[in-house]
Symmetry: C2
Subunit: 186 residues, 2 copies
């Protein structure tokens, strides 16, 4: 029987991020992550299928957050506003894990393979948003433009949020990016 | 001495795209590409460092096209308009190779590794545009938003261009995406 380990997942994430930061993602083994967390490799594999899953999860939880929020927006909400509201919901989820997000981003930026994976994740979010918008009656062109633009603004806001000091708020960074776009697009 | 081969590069590109389409990117060897083109492997390696370079080139030629065009825009051009003008220049380059672009996209979409590489290339273009805009005096926030939005609209326009019939014009698809955004952002 497996012993119950309090917050094993969080401890493994912490240990992995420490090691990725200290010696690089490629040079860190799962055995080392488990050891640093004071857990066994078997416990690691109960929580993650592989090393990359520590950074990316088994699924893309933001996808559900975004598409649910688009579906929940009042029917008369214009597409770009529905996307803005959805990104606000995602921002609330991410804001709670700012310290984790910052450490994670430093690891990802240092490794081309991880950076590619992150970009694919964002492209999947854009596709999900576009599909959700079309389900609400947006044209294919409007849906594509609103979804791609929303993810572009999210990228810009996320970068400025992580670069700013600890008091920064992701939702505020997002609102600021949308306001900048609305001014530039005038 | 190497024998001069007329249009060896184009023949190798054609042969590679045919084989990638027929049997998949991973299952195609460089020897097969050279053979199909009626050339030697040695000739292949005079033009490409590896198989992936047939699809992505050694450099990112659009980067120079985009940053030169931003630099050449009149000083009073607002950031998003400078990006739109730069993307028009890139569209002119791509328009001439529509058939190649379409076959290439089908190969890339079918292979996750190639799709990741393509997304990195687009992210590099966004960074290059942002840098070029900052050199013209745009704020970091304006530059990031205009560059990321421009590449987002390019992605949407490129997809609709490749999905449309042979008479489609990439510049028109881009103008239409910018017009949709300006309407949605009102």
């Amino acid at each position: 029987m497996a012993r119950w380990e309090p917050n094993a997942r969080g401890r493994l994430e912490d240990a992995a991020l420490d090691l990725f930061t200290e010696r690089g993602y490629d040079k860190t083994t799962i055995a080392e992550i488990a050891q640093r967390a004071g857990l066994t490799e078997r416990t690691f594999f109960r929580h993650f299928a592989d090393k990359r899953e520590v950074l990316f999860g088994a699924s893309n939880p933001l996808l559900g957050v975004l598409t649910d929020a688009v579906a929940a927006a009042p029917t008369d909400t214009p597409p770009l506003d529905a996307v803005a509201a959805a990104l606000d919901s995602a921002a609330a989820v991410l804001q709670e894990r700012r310290s984790y997000a910052r450490r994670r981003q430093a690891v990802i930026t240092a490794n081309e393979e991880l950076l590619e994976r992150e970009l694919v994740k964002l492209a999947v979010l854009a596709e999900g948003l576009a599909t959700a918008l079309r389900s609400r009656g947006a044209s294919a062109a409007e849906a594509a433009v609103a979804a791609e633009t929303g993810i572009a603004l999210f990228r810009a806001a996320y970068a400025s949020w992580l670069a700013a000091d600890d008091t920064a708020d992701l939702a505020e960074c997002l609102h600021s990016a949308f306001a900048t776009l609305r001014t530039l697009a005038r």
